[in-house]
Point group: C2
Chain length 185, copies 2
DNA sequence: GGAGTCATGTAACTTGTTACATGATTGA
DNA sequence: TCAATCATGTAACAAGTTACATGACTCC
């Protein structure tokens, strides 16, 4: 019955399957990857400690003359097993809470001008996001050429966002047109 | 500095701008609306009490012979003002954590068969979802015809999901094709 | 008779973020 | 000189879900 989720735990195990990393590296990896996942230090460090205690990861301290030492964590065989088990389970659709849509359905209360502004801002955000995504996509393709076996999958993730954004630009225009009609009538 | 979010608070204020409702009604409204927002009783009841204490909503008890009384809450002028202020502020893109994509980028570790299974399940979920969305869309259109001024906006929200899902079906096929190639080579 | 709906509400828990503390190095 | 990056970690908080308690009515 007890539904322990703790997705951070598996995100960390997963990324350590790429290669051994420090907590700092883990944070950076997700920050760079393109927006569909993030981890904060407040999750990463306690989770790494926990994973170490459970024997799912091992730790090696890299001595450095300057600044704090790097604590590099690697997946153990047990950790890999746990990761595998999790990967076989169907990803369940997480409950979404979309604030833009929430504001949108109160559009009658907000007024058409405010609603139009929301949509236009959203449109700009999406456009900007797509610029970044195309850069990341190209970067993943470069990694593929270099023989990184993970890059193909990361490119899929990037394209998920690209496809979605593409569709949402059309949606924005559709909505803006509908609002125009409302104002004219 | 203090970044109080509490989106439940505004979700509740917003929905009370449609019409006075009980906590039970609020939950049901979001459950019915089509998946881009939900509220649990654990959020609704304490928030309603808080909003009442702050004078943003008023409460009226409907006596009923059988079962518990209905506590019906209505937006006050102050509450409407607070809602307005919130509606004018740009909706910030919430940080997403997409579990499917997380599993996907560990596809090399999971193996092509497991990855294919994930994508196929996702595809089925989306297809099923679109069926529901089309029903909700039709329902919103019926409400529009009946003169509900909010229905146009709710239809926009539904179409947001329809457009997204449409794009993601194409994305799924694209990914599945790419996986096929991987296996063949 | 059993499932579902109506209807209130709370307590325990999980999950996650933000801000802070600390401090050196590097590059514009 | 100022911002960014490297690097560890914790404490306080916010947000939200789930499960429970309670109980009647209605429809199949």
């Amino acid at each position: 019955m007890a539904q322990k989720q703790n997705r951070s735990r598996y995100a960390i195990l997963g990324i350590l399957s790429y290669r051994p990393m420090s907590g700092y590296d883990v944070q950076k990896f997700f920050a760079d990857i393109a927006g569909f996942w993030q981890e904060s230090y407040g999750q990463i460090y306690p989770n790494l400690r926990q994973l170490l205690a459970e024997g799912l990861v091992s730790k090696q301290v890299e001595e450095r003359e300057k600044g704090p030492n790097r604590h590099v964590y690697a997946l153990t065989a047990v950790g890999q097993q746990e990761l595998h088990t999790w990967l076989q389970q169907t990803a369940e659709p997480l409950p979404v809470r979309n604030e833009l849509l929430l504001k949108l359905i109160f559009g009658h209360e907000a007024g058409p001008a405010a609603t139009r502004r929301q949509l236009e801002t959203y449109r700009e955000q999406i456009t900007a996001d797509m610029g970044n995504l195309r850069i990341v996509e190209a970067w993943q393709e470069a990694q593929m050429d270099e023989g990184d076996p993970h890059a193909l999958y990361r490119r899929m993730a990037v394209r998920h966002a690209l496809r979605t954004n593409q569709a949402l630009l059309i949606w924005c225009d559709e909505c803006l047109a509908e609002l125009e009609e409302l104002v004219i009538e």
